[in-house]
């Protein structure tokens, strides 16, 4: 079963470890500017939302790529770039609605490759705001969280009667 990088902003603590491990692993330097993941923050209201390539089912980056350089890794589900074909036109950067494709320091485009199936951002995310799990499991977690709220409500109602 295909796994997905699942983001739960409610759990994000805003520590930016994901950004740093991404840059250290891919660029071999510490520099979040060139990380493929970024925590977007609304500091004064306490909202933190990690943003990264969504590995779309029907990727816009693939659609707009004039060279056919965008392809899917069937093992990990990651949308990858074939650098032998890529001409660096950056149409993918322009069109991705999530800001999922970034321009590296060398001018080449970079994007999340799910670290070949073992994403380091996930591995180092203590609050589990980032998870790499099977799609069906995501649903179970979401249903369980909703059911939890529902059960609390029911218990309140029962206590009131």
């Amino acid at each position: 079963m295909q796994k997905f990088l699942f983001i739960n902003p409610e759990k994000c603590s805003g520590c930016r470890i994901c950004e740093t491990v991404c840059s250290l692993h891919h660029e071999k330097v510490c520099n979040p500017t060139y990380a493929r993941i970024q925590v977007i923050k609304w500091e004064s209201s306490g909202l933190y939302i990690p943003m990264v390539c969504q590995q779309c089912e029907d990727p816009i980056c693939e659609t707009v790529c004039p060279m056919g350089a965008v392809f899917k890794d069937e093992n990990t589900g990651a949308i990858l770039i074939d650098y032998d074909l890529c001409v660096g036109c950056k149409l993918c950067v322009t069109h991705c609605p999530f800001g999922g494709v970034v321009i590296g320091k060398d001018g080449k485009i970079k994007k999340c490759d799910l670290c070949d199936g073992d994403p380091l951002c996930v591995k180092n995310c203590e609050p589990k705001a980032l998870q790499y799990i099977e799609g069906t499991t995501i649903n179970f977690h979401k249903r369980k969280a909703a059911a939890q709220r529902f059960s609390e409500l029911m218990q309140k109602l029962l206590a009131a009667t």
Partner: protein, 630 residues
Amino acid sequence: MVWNRKIAHINLTSGKVQTKKISKSLRKQFLGGRGLNMYYLYQYIKPGIDPLGPENALFIGTGILTGIPALGAGRCDIAAKSPLTGAVGDSNIGGFFAPELRFAGFDHLMVTGKAEKPSYIWIHDGEVTIQDATHLWGKDTFETQDQIRSDHNDEQIKSLVIGKAGENLVRYANVRTGMKNAAGRTGMGCVMGSKNLKAIATRGTLDVEFAYPDKLLDYCSEMNNQITGSRWASAQSKWGTLIIYSNTNTTGLIRTRNFQLNLLEDGENLEPEVMDEYTIGMSGCYGCSVHCRHRYVLKDGPYAPLFGEGPEYTSLGAFGTMVGCKKMETVLVGNHLVNKYGIDTLEVGGIIAWVMELNEKGLLSEKLTDGLNLEWGNEEAVFELIKRISKREGDLGNILADGFLPAIAKIGKESEYYAMQIKGMSNLHSDERPTPSLALGIATSTRGAEHLRSRPAIDLYGLPEELLEEIYGAPMSSDYTSYEGKSRMVWWQELLYAVTDSIGICKFQTVFCAVHAPKFEEFSKLIEYTSALKISKPELMEIGERIITTERMFNNREGFSRKDDKLPERFFKEPTTLGLPIIKGKKIEKGRFNTMIDEYYSLHGWDNNGVPSEETLKRLGLENKYSMNS
């Protein structure tokens, strides 16, 4: 490479900026952060200067590990001669400023002189400029950060700022960043205010190069697992430092009503679980997997709607137990106000608790109360005093804004006995009478009464003596009310924290609260993986000694000595009245306390008066520096 980075010398009087490299030999002696700051402080600040004069200098330092994805490696150290104590001024701040400064190309800043008009320093990718801050003057710490971001049209700017308290030269004004992070102690915000320096803002997109990125990455994961695997960290992750209250208010290690009782009766509303009602989630500093700050929302009441971060255990004491308030909402509002005005939560709470006791004892004239009802638990008086002190409004606000020692001189000699301060700085709301190790730490700290300088918090766990000997390197009692071996415990922790503050990680992720948390051995590996410098455990401990001895030399030069390493008299005269059987009825025994000080000095290689000996200076390579400027 990490050891070969830059310091910017910024002269606010002349407007000149010079960039210099930090040498490898200095790195090997002082690492970075607090260590290097202490070196600069001793070298550049002439003895006897006015801390609020242009000749005082402000040092900002990142750590050698700043930026790694572990151990809260986002910490920044800020130093100057303290306008509160006249001794070493030094305060450490978390958040996201330090890594951003590194990404902008600098590890250290030295700010000298005084700007003609309100200014701020702008550091962007290797460039340092001094900018006009007239439009920022008068703004609170939140507004200031927002305005700078909006002026540069960049939401990712990180700033160190001052609020009203810093502008008004309140002697314990702090330096703030983000919603809650503060370099709280010793009045570093007051020094910024005295220089007309409203903020230091930075944004960087440059690389920080680490020696062995892959090894570092693996080891950071290991460190994070080591930390989050402890029970302590999981409690912190949920309740933050407020969890300490559950312990101290059960055992009797907390001071309430200034220093009258050591437990807060009917204090259930301050239990950490109460925060569940207000919390929308937790928040972490850069590189932290513990995330100990609450993000809280206050929906009702006169201060609502309000979003804030924190509060720390410190604020729970400042606006809770010490002033006799028993509601979490009081703490949340107080925390918000001090963050907004940029004033040290601990100092302001300590000084308000003091005047409340003076009021109770009839030692404060009615005229001086300025129409405030200073009865215990009056939250409105607490909020009003935070405001008046920050703005220096009214006689009382203005007197208290100068700190304990000038306030004692103005209010009267009898008031001194009730002031829970050391070297002019307020103590935390912890009660150290039953715990000699903790008492020794606050008495000998180089920056005044202070728990973050050497506190061996794990002494309270009653650990097996074999384990204590393994950690501290000599036998000692596992009984926290004992004096046996505790001087060594304090000495060891002091070295550990000096190094911690110099590599730029969070103290809470060391042997502060958890025994198996990282210490010298782990630091040694991290330093190697980041900088390729091989510094062994004994060498790191020696660096710790060098830093503390340099601080001691600075203080000696300013006239401090053994006479200042003391406790408030109440510690010796009034036994605790509440708490567990082992804690009740305890006070510090003067004779045994003095012996501990002797032992502590001897471990550091200082003489009986707390002055480093010639041999010690030689051993630490400080002999030439000792005569400089003096």
